[in-house]
Symmetry: C2
Subunit: 230 residues, 2 copies
DNA sequence: GTCTATAACGAGATAGAC
DNA sequence: GTCTATCTCGTTATAGAC
């Protein structure tokens, strides 16, 4: 059987991939705000109306690129975690942070797409949430492991924050104390502050040896979530 | 003498301000990538070529907006510092962090302009550096005061980072120990990670009581730069 | 001198008829 | 899927008002 459906499906997948690849190129050159289905079609030698067989709208193409970017970053962080699976939690934390940084430096435009300025007129649908959560889940897992080990020491909680801290812990990691949940979310945001500043050029003439600086900052972030060097 | 120069200069200043105001409106609606001199001129009932008397190019208009945004944020942080000038350094640090957050939430599009994704095809000239540095200088000043007080305790340095740390300290704050300079730059980037995540929507369904969360995180950042509660 | 207006260029996007 | 007519844009040259 010369499975015509299989061949068709394969062709469809290949064209879909080619469209996304061309769109990513355009993302790098013109930015997400100017992503245009017509320009993508032109680059592929297709006519713009043909693209609507693969993506019903420009926003759907954008959504696909966003999900791909989140997944790519998620996979990079998961690979780093697995490669360091025998190391103690603090070292694993640092390895994942460095994977995030490495991915962002290798894919600055996709980084800008998911962690940079929102695209005017575009609102990400719920379908992106799953992929977006992957990095965060990796970080949560490491802190959970660390908590089973030597324990989270020195994490405190500001007075008024307790109800919110308990809500966050219940949502994110019911097995972690509220202090750890708060520290985790803060460290998560701070990690992307470090990475974003480097990718977007804010460290220009401020930090030169960015690799060493980041390694140090990531280690201190690990302490901040209660992963004490061991 | 009915100072014709004064009147002309005033008129020029008013039109310049009107152009920037209209440009900021467009920034909010279409994003920096699509900022167009023609649309600004249309909104003001002018013809596009007339704008070139005030801004030699679209990029120069963008640069003016960027400098204004940095200055606006810088002033907000300086005001917060001055309003808390009698408070101990840790409280002053938190006040400035909250001013940064408040400014960003009140001006999300200008925040995106200066701390979000780079504008494709645009490269900020050196003239922006002075304004961009203002917030950082406020933070440095507070840590310097704290250092004169109870002292920076518990700041360590990763092995390979020492040369870079000494370079950073010499550049940013020769009177501070290298450990403090590194912690300061890291806290600076992390502060904008927290603010950026909130402004750009990454805390959606993760952090609800963002005010309390931020206050807590800012307090822990203060500890991270060696400002111990007192 | 200082400004605005007209017109135009080359490039690109877009909408709709066919 | 193709073609065309009509938009947008940044920018410049030029002419004329105050």
């Amino acid at each position: 059987m010369s499975t015509p459906q299989g061949a068709r499906a394969r062709a469809r997948q290949e064209i879909t991939a080619a469209i996304k690849e061309a769109a990513r190129r355009q993302l790098a050159e013109e930015g997400a705000a100017k992503l245009s289905l017509r320009a993508v079609a032109r680059e592929l030698g297709m006519v713009s109306s043909a693209l609507y067989r693969y993506f019903p709208s420009r926003d759907d193409l954008l959504t696909a690129l966003i999900i791909d970017a989140y997944d790519s970053l998620g996979e990079a962080s998961e690979r780093a975690r697995d490669a360091a699976s025998t190391a103690p939690p603090p070292a694993r934390w640092i390895a994942v942070c460095e994977a995030v940084r490495g991915w962002a430096l290798a894919h600055p435009h996709e980084y800008a797409l998911i962690y940079g300025s929102p695209v005017p007129g575009y609102s990400a649908p719920e379908t992106t949430v799953r992929a977006a959560a992957r990095v965060g889940l990796v970080l949560i897992g490491i802190v959970r492991d660390g908590h089973r080990g030597p324990g989270l020491a020195g994490l405190s909680l500001t007075a008024g924050l307790r109800p919110e801290a308990e809500r966050m812990a219940a949502d994110l990691a019911p097995d972690l104390p509220p202090e750890a949940a708060v520290a985790l979310v803060a460290a998560w945001a701070q990690l992307f502050g470090l990475v974003g500043f480097e990718v977007f050029g804010q460290f220009h003439r401020v930090v030169e040896d960015r690799e060493a600086f980041f390694r140090h900052a990531a280690a201190r972030l690990a302490e901040g979530v209660g992963l004490n060097g061991s």
